[in-house]
């Protein structure tokens, strides 16, 4: 009974430590970056006005958020949704009329969809870097009017348009892109730099999973050996040391996970379906740019070719690492058992 309890709870406590580290990273990654704005005093009226960009529209309707400082469990700067009756949207004038109150800060842009009460990270200024944007239009590409300086169309077809942007402010925010090119309002927009970061992080994500799987494999092997703990103390000690080493190295692997905020789901980071849908939509749209005669599905633009080539080189790496994460400890357990059996074999003199 004692051995069984110890076996089970060792795994539980190992996992609790690992999950604590993972949750610290997940919490940090999942915090949306936001740009805030104050209401401008409307001349001749008692209220204030906000740019239309501050209105977040999704499947559940329209949302306007302010920030507030939470306390207790909810400590930190958080988003609070405004009551729809407290503001009025004027689509023609492209502004939101709100009750003017001094010091109230509204969220104008966010790197990912916001939830009520969610922690937010207010981003003051971002560096401007060259980037490429891919806009996917589920209902067909509309006419795109004259573009602002530094923005040009690289490729387009009936479903998607690829833009080259000379000065895109970091971090990428969907709303900011849509305010720059108003025709993108109905589109899902992806940033090449963010997709690059996403692909880069996949290896580290694979490594984290591999570490967890390795620990479970070591634990399974050790549980079998723990039946004769007195005789098998050396391999048990080795496995315990390896499990501790994995735990110590876990923060290093987690530090390399740098999933871009704009590619993250609204609710849970474990929503793998969301990631797969985004990945497929992005690369299918790029694939649709490839010339019909070509046998290799490569887009014509250089940026598109670079990211597709990068994806092809990296995509199997996380799975491979996870495989190694199971295979190596399993091999170690087999070797340990073999050594134990050889040592216990009666020797004939």
């Amino acid at each position: 009974m004692k051995k069984k309890a110890l076996c089970v709870f060792i795994l539980i406590f190992w996992m609790l430590v690992a999950v604590t580290m993972i949750s610290m990273r997940v919490e940090k990654i999942m915090i949306p970056q936001v740009v805030t704005t104050g209401a401008r005093n409307d001349r001749g009226a008692s209220g204030g006005v906000l740019p239309l960009d501050a209105l977040f529209v999704d499947d559940t309707g329209m949302h306007l958020y302010t920030t507030y400082e939470g306390t207790g469990w909810e400590a930190g700067e958080r988003a609070r949704e405004q009551d729809p009756s407290s503001y009025e949207v004027d689509f023609e004038a492209e502004k939101i009329k709100v009750e003017y109150s001094w010091g109230v800060v509204y969220i104008q842009y966010a790197s990912k969809p916001i939830r009520e009460g969610e922690l937010v990270n207010v981003n003051k200024t971002g560096e401007c870097v060259p980037d490429h944007w891919l806009a996917v239009f589920p209902e067909g590409t509309p006419e795109i009017g004259p573009l602002s300086e530094g923005v040009s169309i690289e490729e387009r077809n009936g479903q998607a348009v690829q833009f080259s942007v000379e000065k895109a402010q970091e971090p990428y925010m969907d709303g900011r892109a849509k305010s720059m090119i108003p025709e993108l309002r109905e589109a899902r927009v992806y940033s090449f730099s963010q997709m690059g970061l996403f692909l880069e992080s996949l290896t580290a994500v694979g490594l984290v999973f591999a570490m967890l799987l390795a620990a479970v494999t070591l634990w399974l092997g050790s549980c079998f050996m723990a039946r004769e703990a007195g005789k098998n103390w050396v391999p048990l000690l080795v496995n315990g040391f390896l499990a501790l080493t994995l735990l110590v190295c876990l923060p290093l692997a987690l530090g390399a996970v740098n999933l871009p905020s704009s590619m993250l789901p609204r609710e849970q980071i474990t929503d793998f379906g969301y990631f797969i849908r985004q990945y497929q939509e992005f690369f299918n749209a790029l694939k649709s740019f490839s010339p019909g005669s070509s046998t290799i599905s490569m887009p014509e633009s250089e940026a598109g070719q670079v990211i597709v080539a990068y994806k092809n080189g990296i995509i199997m790496r996380p799975l491979l690492i996870m495989g190694v994460g199971i295979a190596l400890p399993a091999a170690l357990i087999v070797v340990e058992r073999a050594v134990l059996q050889i040592r216990r074999r009666p020797r004939i003199k």
Partner: protein, 257 residues
């Protein structure tokens, strides 16, 4: 005879059901909140979505670890003194210790607060750890436990040249593991479940151990609190499963003597 055993079996079964039912209820509701389908959303929120539940859990573990270590040292020395050393006023002191043991916690809360305030330890973790180290229950249990060690064994050890420290570590403690486990468990549970002390001695919410912070979990969804309960029950569950035998032995020993 058969009737009695049947009745006691049924009674034990009923008692087991009454004890286990709340836990099963909490576990079920944490996966199946009222009016919803099977969901792991709340487990995600507590174990992955936010680090503050787990960080607070480990902080509480640290506080309890310090309390257990401190109380073991104090209780072993005090218990050995009361059980095996002769000094004037020993019985009176033991009597005072027993009176202190039966005093409710609320009585000592205010004096402790004044002392901690004078020492400048309020709103620190020391305010939780130090008073809990000197709780007399551990000393009482170990006094009873050490009394079971025969005087002949002590004398033999002394003849062999053992000093007090060596005798404690090599002779007396190995013979009283159940008492030690009992003190460890009880002091850990005392620290793990403390509620009044953090509220009285700490002002900063960030320092609250999980036992108190649980009461402040955002009330929007009670299911989140249930999942926190599952997290909180893990360490005591481990200790009870692992030290079950020793705990029963230790308590019986303390009572019989």
């Amino acid at each position: 005879m058969k009737k009695t055993s049947c009745f006691s079996g049924l009674f034990a079964l009923l008692l087991a059901f009454v004890s286990i039912a709340p836990f099963v209820y909490v576990l079920t509701l944490s996966f199946l909140p009222a009016g919803q389908r099977l969901t792991f959303r709340y487990y995600y929120d507590v174990f992955l979505g936010s680090s503050q539940y787990l960080v607070r859990f480990w902080k509480s573990m640290g506080i309890c670890g310090a309390i257990v270590a401190g109380q073991l040292v104090v209780s072993v020395l005090a218990g050995y003194g009361f059980a095996k050393c002769e000094f004037p006023g020993k019985n009176t002191l033991l009597f005072v210790l027993m009176i202190l043991m039966v005093l409710p916690l609320q009585v000592t809360l205010a004096p402790n607060y004044i002392m901690l305030d004078n020492l400048g330890l309020l709103d620190t973790y020391y305010a939780l750890i130090l008073p809990s180290i000197f709780v007399p229950l551990g000393a009482f249990i170990l006094t009873q436990s050490f009394k079971s060690v025969s005087a002949d064994i002590i004398d033999a050890a002394k003849l062999d040249g053992c000093g007090v420290f060596r005798m404690l570590t090599k002779v007396v403690l190995p013979m009283n593991t159940s008492g030690l486990v009992c003190v460890t468990l009880l002091s850990f549970l005392d620290g793990w479940n403390m509620v009044e002390q953090p509220i009285a001695y700490l002002k900063d919410f960030i320092r609250y151990p999980i036992s108190v912070a649980l009461a402040y979990v955002p009330p929007a969804d009670p299911t989140l609190q249930l999942v926190c309960c599952i997290l909180v029950v893990i360490p005591p569950l481990f200790l009870f499963t692992y030290f079950n035998k020793e705990l029963v032995e230790g308590i019986v020993l303390a009572e019989v003597k």
